[in-house]
């Protein structure tokens, strides 16, 4: 039961943060959502604690399903890369609360 509740709390927090104005809060929200997604995938293979997914550590019947763990590993790597990119985007560009144009060295007109 602990995994579904955790997923629910993470998702609720993610939605709250994503509805805020600032880019940094949106990034925190998306990171929380990525965690929620990872837990959903993990629960697809590991509903209760089972052994490590290695043939010599646990028998085939007790071993956890390695595939969701591989999924999650891939997803974590992707989420990290995107988070770094979004943090860079939060630094460049204009302020979300004002309509000030960024200093790009060009003069702008419509």
């Amino acid at each position: 039961m602990i995994i579904p509740i955790t997923v629910g709390v993470l998702t609720a927090g993610a939605i709250y943060l994503m509805l805020q104005r600032g880019m940094v809060r949106i990034i925190f929200g998306l990171s929380l959502l990525a965690h929620a997604a990872n837990l959903v995938i993990l629960s697809a293979g590991v509903t209760a604690w089972r052994g490590e997914p290695f043939p010599d550590a646990a028998g085939a019947a007790d071993a956890g399903d390695p595939l969701p763990q591989a999924f999650v590993l891939t997803a974590i790597v992707i989420a990290l890369a995107v988070t770094v990119l979004m943090l860079a985007m939060a630094v460049i560009g204009h302020n979300d609360d004002t309509k000030r144009m960024p200093e790009t060295g060009e003069t702008h007109r419509r």
Partner: protein
């Protein structure tokens, strides 16, 4: 010459080239890679397409694991056709990019090559999780591409693009996880018909929801017309040829395998598809900038393409696939044409442009042909695209027949009038007196009196001309091309060869 062992290389080769162009940043070297890779993947896809006349499906289980456990790469007529058409369009976008000099921006070459690798991978993968991975490989360079080209607006809309697409990718990931939890596999060949189990039906619904956002189906479309026009013309043409089309391809593939064409929410989808047709066409009226108007036409195009899937007969799927390749090529021509105008005169706004019909005759002829193709008037590929969809709707019978045929005509009428506004605003009217030239110091900030020698150069026009000629060829050779799309549709209806090739 293409064998099954070479299938992964259609995805690996662009990604490896991307790495090579990061490490060695010689301008000539980068340009060679940039233009050679789409040519190579296009030739590979053409060869696959010819082979599929005899062998309908070619599959490769990477790493020689047991089929079902291994990572499958599968090519059938549909995926080979998609790679061929996208490679051609991408090549023209990249030629345009080279001419405008955008390809010399820092890291643009490796980013575009990585994008191409992700797209080819998404077309070839036979596994839902790998679909997610390749969609991410496709999106990550796009996040950067949208930020390095275009107007200052890109910095704001880049955020919208990243946030919407990342949220959608997370939903897709959750959906794939739930499919694994309920069906115990994410291999498409093993998932055939799995949608009849109510639990898998629900979990794959999450996958379809995510793909619908990525495909920009009304009412999940609003991100597209707000983000695409803010980037540069060549990047917008790349995105329009690749992003939504990958999502549409995946919708075709997933719906036909998991539900064998009969998802329980086909009614909901039918209503949304009808809405997309009309909302996309009529929203074009609100825009006074060329590429913004075109971005709404992309939403209308999504409605047309999805119509083929909603009706789900072999004929309607074939018509939908024909419309999809027509739409990729025509949209590419229109956006690159708008890009040529913007590059020369410094603006795409209707009120800043006028009288181009007298300045640039060739461009005008090409643009007129492309606009006719968009609306569906002969002589153009769009004519046969719409004829196919109307015929498919007529075969559906019942109330759908009347509703869909009416919607196609009402949508076409809206597009026609909206595109006339573009035509009147940009091509007709008095001669232009000033323009906004590109200057290294001030960007396009200062108005300068227009002299007679400022014209759209033939070089700038060439990529668009190639795409316009391609769609004219699709009009002339509609018969043979429809045979190919019908074969592609057959692969979606009759899944036996697909399953046999993957599971061995």
């Amino acid at each position: 010459m293409m064998t099954s062992a070479l299938l992964p290389f259609l995805a690996v080769l662009p990604i490896a080239a991307s790495a090579a162009t990061v490490l060695w940043r010689n301008a000539t070297w980068q340009r060679i890679w940039l233009l050679a890779i789409p040519v190579l993947t296009g030739l590979g896809a053409l060869d696959l397409l010819l082979q599929h006349r005899e062998t309908p499906v070619i599959a490769e289980n990477v790493g020689a694991f047991v089929p079902g456990v291994a990572i499958p790469f599968v090519s059938d007529t549909l995926s080979a056709l998609m790679i061929l058409v996208t490679s051609l369009t991408v090549l023209m976008c990249l030629v345009f990019m080279t001419i405008t000099g955008e390809s010399r921006y820092r890291l643009v070459t490796p980013l575009v090559l990585m994008l191409l690798g992700g797209v080819n991978g998404a077309f070839l993968t036979g596994d839902l999780f790998n679909l997610f991975v390749f969609v991410e490989v496709m999106l990550l360079p796009s996040y950067a591409l949208i930020a390095v080209t275009g107007t200052w607006r890109r910095l704001g809309v880049g955020r919208t693009f990243v946030v919407v697409n990342l949220l959608t990718s997370t939903i897709l990931l959750i959906g794939v996880g739930l499919v694994y939890a309920t069906a115990e596999t994410v291999n498409l060949a093993l998932l055939v018909g799995a949608g009849s189990d109510p639990r898998t039906m629900l979990s794959s619904g999450v996958v379809l929801l995510a793909l619908s956002i990525k495909a920009a189906i009304v009412p999940l479309h609003t991100w597209l017309p707000r983000t695409y026009p803010a980037t540069s013309a060549s990047v917008m043409a790349l995105f329009s040829a690749l992003h939504t089309k990958v999502a549409l391809y995946a919708l075709y593939r997933v719906t036909s395998t998991l539900y064998e064409g009969q998802p329980p929410w086909i009614m909901v989808l039918a209503v949304l598809v009808g809405l997309s047709l009309v909302v996309g066409s009529y929203s074009t009226f609100g825009e006074r900038v060329m590429r913004r108007a075109l971005s709404w036409q992309m939403v209308a195009g999504v409605g047309h393409i999805m119509l083929g899937l909603v009706l789900f007969t072999q004929f309607s799927l074939g018509a939908g696939i024909f419309y999809m390749i027509h739409h990729i090529i025509t949209m590419g021509a229109l956006i690159l044409g708008a890009g040529a105008i913007e590059q020369t005169y410094g603006s795409g706004r209707y009120e800043r442009l006028s009288g181009i019909i007298r300045r640039d005759r060739l461009l005008t002829i090409g643009y007129a042909l492309a606009l006719m193709s968009l609306i569906g008037l002969p002589p153009s590929s769009g004519f046969f695209g719409k004829v196919g969809l109307v015929q498919a709707s007529a075969q559906a019978g019942g109330a759908w027949q009347a509703v869909f045929i009416t919607l196609i005509f009402v949508g076409a009428l809206g597009s026609l009038v909206a595109m006339q506004r573009l035509w009147v605003g940009v091509f007709w009217g008095p001669d232009m007196e000033d323009y906004l030239p590109d200057s290294p110091e001030t960007g396009r900030g200062t108005t300068v009196a227009l002299t007679d020698d400022v014209r759209v150069t033939p070089r700038l026009l060439a990529p668009m001309a190639v795409l316009v000629l391609t769609q004219l060829a699709m009009f002339v050779f509609a018969g043979p091309i429809m045979q190919v799309t019908t074969r592609a549709a057959q692969g979606l209806v009759d899944l036996q060869p697909y399953v046999q090739a993957v599971t061995g």
